[in-house]
Structures are given as C-alpha cells and as structure tokens.
Amino acid sequence: MSAYIASLVSVVGINMILALSLNIITGFCGQVSLGHAAFYGIGAYAAAYLAKLGVGLPLTLLAGAVMAGAIGLVVGLTSLRVRHDFLAVTTMGIGFVFLGFVRKQKWLGGELGISGIPGPGLDPVTYALLIAAFAVAVIAFSLWVKQSWMGFTFDAVADDEEAARTVGVNVSIYKLTAFGIGTALAGLAGGLYVYFARIILPDTFDFVQSIAILTMVVIGGTGSVWGVAAATIGLTLLPELSRAAADYRLLIFGAMLMLVMRFSPAGLAGMIRRRSPA
C-alpha cells in the first residue's frame, strides 16, 4: 500500500466513524445534531494535549472518546429539555461555543491550534489499517445496535416519542444513550485524526465540518448503516477524482443535500429500496 493510498484509507476511515456516529444520534434515535464536529474536535484536542504530554496512543484515544462522550451526555441533557426544533439550534450553538472557547485558550494554542504532535509510533500503512479496523468495528457495532432491543427502542423514540413513552419506554435514558455513544465515537475519530494529521487547527472542527458529516448521513440515507458507509466513501473520495470536484466540494455537497431531499428524502438507501420489489 503506497503512502497515498494509506492516507486515503485513513481519511475515509475517520469520516466513516464520524458519519456512523452521527447516524446513531440522528438516524437511529431521531435527534437532530448540527454540531457534531465539536465532539470530533473535543476528542482531537483532548488526545493532542495528552499526546504532547507524552501519554501513549491507547490512552489518548480513550481519553478523547471519554471526554467527548461526557460532554455529549451534557448536550443530551439539553435535548431532553428542549423541543425538537430547538435542538437543531442548540446543537449548532455547541459547535460555536466549542470553537469560541478553544480559539481563546492559549494553553490549547488559540487560533494556531496544536502542532508538533508526536506520531502514533506506527508506520503510516499500519496506522491506516488500524483506523480501518476501528471503522469496520463501528460498522459492525452499528449493525448490531440496529437489530438489538436498544435499536428497536431508538426507532420507537425517533418515530413517535409520545407513543414510545406511552408503552413504557424511558425516552430520556435512550436519548442520552444515543448522544453518549455517538459523541464518544466522534471523539475517537478526533483522536485518530490527531495522529494522522499531527497538527490540529480550530477551523477543522467548524460548522461546515458538521454539515459535511451530516451530508454523508443524509445522502446515504438517515438511519441506514450501509447507505451511510457507501455515501461516506463516495463523498470522501469525490475530491480525489478531479480537480474541479475538489474546488467545488462544498457547492456539490450543498446541491446534493437539496436534490436528495427533494427527490429521495431517504437518501441512497431509499432509492435502492424503492427499486427492489417489496
């Protein structure tokens, strides 16, 4: 595997974990989040800070995931308090509060971020395979959740919260669980990104990044594990195909969001499902 292929595998793997983690919150449990990049960033900053202190890779990845998950639970608590439409705005707000905070912190490098992060101690190819292994594990985990009792309950909460409550589902616990798992996985992706990029900038985790993650979920088909996985690979590799696609990446993302919602709100997965006889 060449260095170029290894870097592609790393980026696809990290995006895969991000998209599937948001899919657990938005797709499975029906809770809109427009600030997912913040949790990616929290994981990355936590891992980068510890790595600079000389802490080893397994522990920094774990710390990133735990930190993001813990803050994700707090945001989950907000989701219990506010109406559905409010949640889109509060989660968007989390993203801005996170960026506004790290930009002003000298000990986190301020606008310049954290650079000079030590390597993972593995050669790039092995590290890419490690990321790929994590991504595969997240796919497997998502598939398992989807057909588990918890997955059915998520579905019920997403479909009709009141009805779920009526039949005795503790809606709050399930929402918090979805937020906790989803944000912790985003934190893991952040930690993996740190050792791949060796430098982190606040702008990597901005609103546009949140929307890019959401685009992968929506285009793949909100809630569909295979759809989201396929869309992630396609959208991540798209800028590699041509120079024009790289220059107009955001324009293409925006246009795709509009067109997919207009013609197939269930995304790629919905299109395929419609083709095959029911």
């Binding site: 439409d85 409010f86 889109a88 705005v89 801005f96 002003k104 324009l251 993302f253 509009m258 709100p265």
Partner: protein, 287 residues
C-alpha cells in the same frame, strides 16, 4: 461611561439582529421551517448594495437593488426550494435550507471572489455624532432608525390592514383562515417577500457598518438570528424583538468581560444554552 457606551453599541447590533430574526420568525411561524438560508439572502443584500453602489455611485440605488433582489430571492426560495417538500417532516426542509445556504455562500465566493469588497465611498463609516454623551457613527444611527421604521411599519401593516389581519389569522390557524377566504399561499409569498427584503437591507447596512462585504458574512449573523428566534420562543414576533435587543447587549458586554474565555460569536449561543436550561420554552414562550 463605558457601561452606557457598551449598552448603546449592543442595542445597535440588537436592531440589526431584529431585522434578520423577524424574517426567520415569520417563516417559522407559518411553515415550521428553520430557514437557515436566510443568511444567504442577508449576504445577497450586502453584495447587491455594495456592487450597485460602487457601479452607480449612489448608495440609495444600492439599497433599492438590495431590497428588490432580496425580496425576489425570498419568493424564489419559497417557490422552488420549500413548496415542493412541505409535506415532509421538519428535518427535510431544514436540510434543504442548509444545502441552499451552502450553495449561496459558495456562489458568492465564485462570483465575487473569496476576498471581500469594500465601498468606494462610505463617508458615514467614520462620521459620528454624539447623542447624550454616546458616540455613534452615522451608519450605526442609520441602523437603529431604519430598523425601527421598518419594524414599526410592519407592525402597523399586521395590525391595521386587511392583508395584515389575514396574515396573522393564517399564522394562528391556517385552516380557519382559509375557510374565511384568506389565500394561505399568498400569505406565504408576502411573508417571504417581506422577511427577505428586511434581511437584504440588514445585509447592506452591515456591509456599511464594517465597510466590508465577504462571502461568509451571513454565517455568524444568521446562526445568531436562529438563537434569537429560539430565545424569543419560536414564532413569537414580540419575543423575537425583545430577544434581539437582549442578545445584542449581552454580546456587547460579553465581548469585553469574557474576552479571555470566549470569542464574540460564542457568547450568543452560550447565553442561549444557559437560558434554555432554565427556561426551555424560551424567554417569553409559554410552557
């Protein structure tokens, strides 16, 4: 005098937020859509103002162009982007709105360049006037005057005219209003027309205020306008106006006293999150 000065500057920004947020509230009240692409209309208004003003040498023509083009853009957005998908859950129009916003922002970048445009002449940018011991530039004063005039005008329209009453009836109960002969589709057009024109004018004024128009200028303002309509209780015009002014002032003080911890753009959302934890229905909303 710092406190008074900060409060005054905060109110100036609050007036600008109000012009933005009223349009969002109108759209939400009528269609339950979080109209994120409103930010695109705001930036469109700013670009129209600066390009037409620079080309013709008349600022008034710039604002006229901004008003007309923004209003038309609003109508086009409703007709082409939202109307075909109204039957879906709120998630679908919201995602469309995000997509549209990104397309507009990238469009501005492609057409007008990634770097900003300044006004050729902007005398009001520096000229200032002392009112009761507070120094305001002419642009800041214009922001307050224009927003008050437009919003009061809108209040009179909604309260006194036949069309305004029909519009309020539609927001309260679309079905009942329809059975009394109000055309709900026309109400929606008026809604987008008015809200978008306001956003476009606000964009032009912000362009003057910073003497700078750039592709991403809509982003921060529009996110804050979303925070404001949530603070105001979503769908309540009075709540929105109050929340706009409150947020303007909170931000103005926060940007000074919290400068070491958060940047300006984060303060509005921090305030939003704190308020929502205490009052999940918003500042004025009812549980």
């Amino acid at each position: 005098m710092l406190v008074v000065e900060l409060a005054a500057k905060g109110l100036v920004y609050g007036c600008m937020y109000a012009m933005m947020a009223v349009g969002l509230t109108l759209v939400y009240g009528l269609l339950r859509i979080l109209h994120i692409a409103h930010a695109g209309v705001f930036a469109l208004g700013a670009y129209m103002t600066v390009t037409v003003a620079n080309a013709t040498g008349h600022l008034a023509l710039g604002f006229a162009a901004a008003t007309v083009v923004s209003a038309l853009a609003g109508i086009a957005i409703y007709r082409l982007a939202y109307q075909p998908i109204l039957q879906h859950s709120a998630f679908v129009p919201m995602v469309v709105s995000i997509g549209l916003f990104i397309v507009m922002q990238e469009g501005f970048r492609m057409i007008f360049g990634a770097y900003g445009i300044a006004f050729d002449t902007n005398p009001w940018y520096v000229a200032n006037i002392g009112v009761a011991g507070i120094n305001l530039t002419y642009v800041e004063l214009a922001m307050v005057v224009v927003s008050v005039v437009l919003l009061v005008g809108f209040g009179l329209f909604a309260g006194l005219t036949r069309a305004g009453i029909g519009w309020r009836a539609t927001v309260t109960d679309p079905q009942m209003a329809t059975s009394f002969g109000v055309d709900p589709v026309r109400v929606r057009y008026v809604n987008f027309l008015f809200g978008s024109a306001l956003a476009g004018i606000a964009g032009g004024l912000v362009g003057l205020l910073n003497n700078y128009v750039e592709p991403t200028m809509g982003a921060a303002v529009s996110y804050k306008a979303l925070a404001i309509i949530v603070l105001g209780g979503l769908g309540s015009v009075r709540g929105t106006l109050i929340a706009s002014l409150v947020l303007g002032v909170v931000e103005s003080f926060g940007a000074i006293y919290l400068a070491d911890i958060f940047d300006r753009d984060a303060i509005g959302f921090l305030f939003l999150i704190v308020v929502l934890m205490v009052r999940p229905q918003g500042l004025l909303g009812r549980g």
